[in-house]
């Protein structure tokens, strides 16, 4: 993946197995977010293949799809710089996530057909369930932008979950959270994996969180994959310490 003359990603081989929590770490500007943008087809990588094996379905290539089709196929994401629908209520934000799993059209909405009403009710209940899962059920009718920062991050997760993904991409979910919020997030991510069997790929700078929950870790530096393995393996890798972890643990 290139931006003009800048090569942001070069040969990143990465896989996530079912119900696995995998972390991508790396210094700032390493290309982590760019990697997410490639998977979700916000950018089209110049070379390379992205293949998914949705549970119970045939494998598919993601190359050249539109971002919304990728979501429909079961990959949902959150954003590093929170991108909520600010003017909508908390609940409505999650309801938007149901869009690709519902069918009601213009005619149904105008005529208020039985089917539409039923679907709307299901959407409401499902979305409310998601809010309860992330612990935001008390703020249902608040404007999304009125939520505190940590809650906004959790709302983004709820919204992503509403699309019923099999793979969830989290871009720095703990950024800007205090330790107790991070601990809650830790618990939430594990719960999502356990209850729904969703695979999780997360980018994170908070080493404590990463080491706690991830099964495997990939380390990116200047667009290259420099190490991969279990948390123990990665912390022991001299190249990683040189590139990234050293400054984190020693300082």
């Amino acid at each position: 993946m290139d931006f003009g003359g800048l090569r942001a990603l070069e040969k990143v081989d990465l896989y996530v197995a079912e119900a696995e929590i995998v972390a991508i770490i790396g210094p700032n500007g390493a290309g982590k977010t760019t990697f997410f943008n490639c998977i979700t087809c916000v950018y089209q990588p110049h070379r390379g293949d992205m293949i998914i094996y949705p549970p119970g379905k045939a494998s598919k290539s993601l190359n050249g799809l539109k971002p919304n089709t990728v979501t429909e196929m079961g990959i949902a994401r959150t954003f590093q710089n929170i991108r909520l629908f600010k003017e909508m209520t908390v609940l409505e934000n999650v309801m938007v996530g149901r869009h690709c799993r519902t069918r009601a059209g213009i005619a149904g909405a105008i005529l208020c057909t039985r089917k539409t009403i039923r679907e709307e009710q299901e959407t409401l209940e499902f979305s409310y369930g998601m809010l309860r899962k992330v612990g935001l059920e008390k703020q249902t009718n608040e404007k999304a932008s009125d939520l505190p920062y940590g809650a906004q991050r959790r709302l983004e997760i709820a919204r992503a979950l509403a699309t019923e993904p099999f793979l969830l991409l989290l871009d720095e979910p703990a950024a800007g959270m205090n330790p107790s919020e991070t601990a809650e997030l830790d618990e939430l991510i594990s719960r999502i994996r356990e209850e729904d069997g969703i695979s999780i790929l997360l980018i994170e700078h908070d080493m404590k969180l990463v080491m706690n929950i991830s099964d495997r870790i990939y380390v990116l530096d200047y667009g290259h994959l420099i190490a991969e393995g279990t948390p123990q393996q990665v912390t022991g890798n001299p190249e990683v310490i040189k590139a990234y972890l050293g400054e984190c643990f020693d300082a």
């Binding site: 979700t40 916000v42 539109k66 971002p67 919304n68 979501t71 429909e72 949902a76 994401r77 954003f79 991108r83 909520l84 629908f85 600010k86 003017e87 909508m88 209520t89 609940l91 409505e92 309801m95 938007v96 996530g97 149901r98 869009h99 690709c100 799993r101 519902t102 009601a104 059209g105 213009i106 149904g108 909405a109 105008i110 208020c112 539409t116 679907e119 709307e120 959407t123 409401l124 409310y128 059920e137 249902t140 009718n141 608040e142 404007k143 932008s145 009125d146 939520l147 505190p148 920062y149 919204r159 699309t163 800007g176």
Partner: protein, 433 residues
């Protein structure tokens, strides 16, 4: 105080000093036109110093007032710079005064009081039903125009208010609806009732035609292209004589058909009034249903954040096109009504000015809010009508009120409130209400 942010003017002295500066500037700038008067006939220069004092005093008072109101709007300036990572719920409630604004509280009150609601609606119903019999034909005719703009505003609101696509060429769809009926009636004698749905459909197709090329454009670029589109349609109508009969327009268009009953002018007006009232009611129902539907949420999501909207599995192309098409449909309907109402149309009725008025209705009334747009249309159309004396200053008042609204109430007179949902959790959660 962190670097890069202007220090708030907390002391009164600072404010007065600044206003004084502004007054001086104004006196200086308006000096040549306000003070010096050269009369070539008498070959002398008249110095009108008195005027300078007026300008200074006026600018000073206005500037002070402006600052005061802005500060009121901001609320007390927080002592510490708010840490963006620790935003508290209460802190973000800027000009909202507590957890609910007055508007929200009124809406909730209205929602909860069933009796009050029924009373309001029956009252409104009787007023609307009796209107043409109480007031003159002239008054009724004005109200019809206002109601037509309500429909136009609600239609444009789908595009601008909900989907957030700034469309300055809305008048093109209005014109196509009007010309469709006029031409069909002129050449083939097609009746109003048959033409009405067809005009809507035609406008929807036009909406799609405009939508395709501008799919990748946003904001200012979109505004410019749509503006051009509106002008192109008008120029085509003006110059393609064989097709549109040119600048002289089309006359003697039939009024809405009346099943063979003889109507005089007054009856026709009353009849049209009821047609428009029913259509407005229809529009309100459709728009409010759409707004709280899956499609409506997709529009708003598109407006709020395009990237996140796509990441939620919403097809951007489809969503934009439905917004353009549905918005245009209403312009088509109203165009058809306009042709039937005035029985004469020409390209001059479809200038950019028309788009601007409709857009002002949407923006002034409150983007996305149905009640706000109704209010906006009534204010913007009825006020100039009843304040004939001010009609020359219409553009001035438009501009000034737009600026004032944008500064003090960017969400419009009535901001769009979102639907609230109550949930009753089935299993007790262990806390008492």
């Amino acid at each position: 105080m962190p670097y890069g942010r202007r220090a708030p003017i907390t002391q009164k002295g600072g404010k007065i000093l600044r206003s004084f500066g502004v007054a001086l500037w104004f006196m200086f700038l308006t000096f040549p036109i306000m003070v010096i008067k050269i009369s070539p006939l008498e070959k002398n220069i008249e110095w009108r110093w008195g005027r300078m004092i007026y300008v200074g005093a006026g600018a000073f008072v206005l500037s002070l007032l402006w600052r005061y109101v802005i500060e009121q709007k901001r609320g007390p300036i927080p002592k510490e710079e708010a840490d963006p990572l620790k935003v508290d719920t209460k802190d973000t409630g800027w000009n909202r005064g507590g957890s609910h604004s007055l508007q929200e509280r009124l809406a909730i009150f209205f929602h909860k009081n069933k009796k009050f609601r029924i009373l309001t609606f029956t009252g409104l119903f009787f007023i609307i039903a009796a209107f043409p019999f109480v007031f003159s034909t002239y008054q009724t005719s004005i109200i019809i125009t206002a109601l037509m703009y309500v429909m136009l505003g609600l239609g444009l609101n789908i595009v601008v208010g909900l989907a957030g696509l700034l469309d300055l060429g809305y008048v093109a769809f209005y014109a196509s609806g009007a010309y469709f009926y006029a031409l069909m009636n002129h050449h083939f004698g097609l009746g109003f009732w048959a033409a009405l749905p067809m005009a809507g459909a035609l406008a929807a197709i036009m909406g799609l035609l405009l939508g395709f090329p501008v799919l990748r454009l946003r904001g200012d670029y979109l505004a410019i292209v749509t503006l051009g589109f509106g002008e192109i349609i008008r120029l085509v109508l003006e110059n393609w004589n064989e097709f549109s009969l040119g600048p002289s327009g089309i006359a003697r268009i039939d009024r809405p058909g009346t099943l063979g009953i003889d109507f005089d002018l007054r009856d026709h007006t009353v009849y049209l009034y009821y047609i428009v009232v029913v259509l407005v009611a229809f529009t309100i129902i459709v728009v409010s249903r759409l707004r709280n539907s899956r499609i409506g949420r997709a529009w708003i999501a598109l407006r709020e954040d395009e990237v996140a909207c796509q990441a939620m599995g919403i097809d951007k192309t489809k969503t934009k096109l439905t917004a353009f098409a549905l918005g245009a449909t209403w312009a088509g309907f109203v165009g058809c009504i306009l042709a039937a109402k005035t029985t004469f149309i020409n390209p001059a009725s479809f200038t950019f000015m028309e788009s601007a008025i409709i857009l002002s209705i949407v923006v002034l009334g409150g983007m996305g809010s149905i009640f706000g747009i109704i209010l906006g249309a009534l204010v913007l159309i009825l006020l100039p009508e009843y304040l004939r004396a001010f009609s020359e200053y219409r553009m001035l008042v438009f501009g000034a009120s737009m600026v004032i609204i944008m500064v003090f109430r960017p969400q419009g007179i009535i901001g769009g409130t979102r639907k609230r949902h109550e949930f009753h959790v089935k299993e007790p959660t262990g806390e008492k209400p």
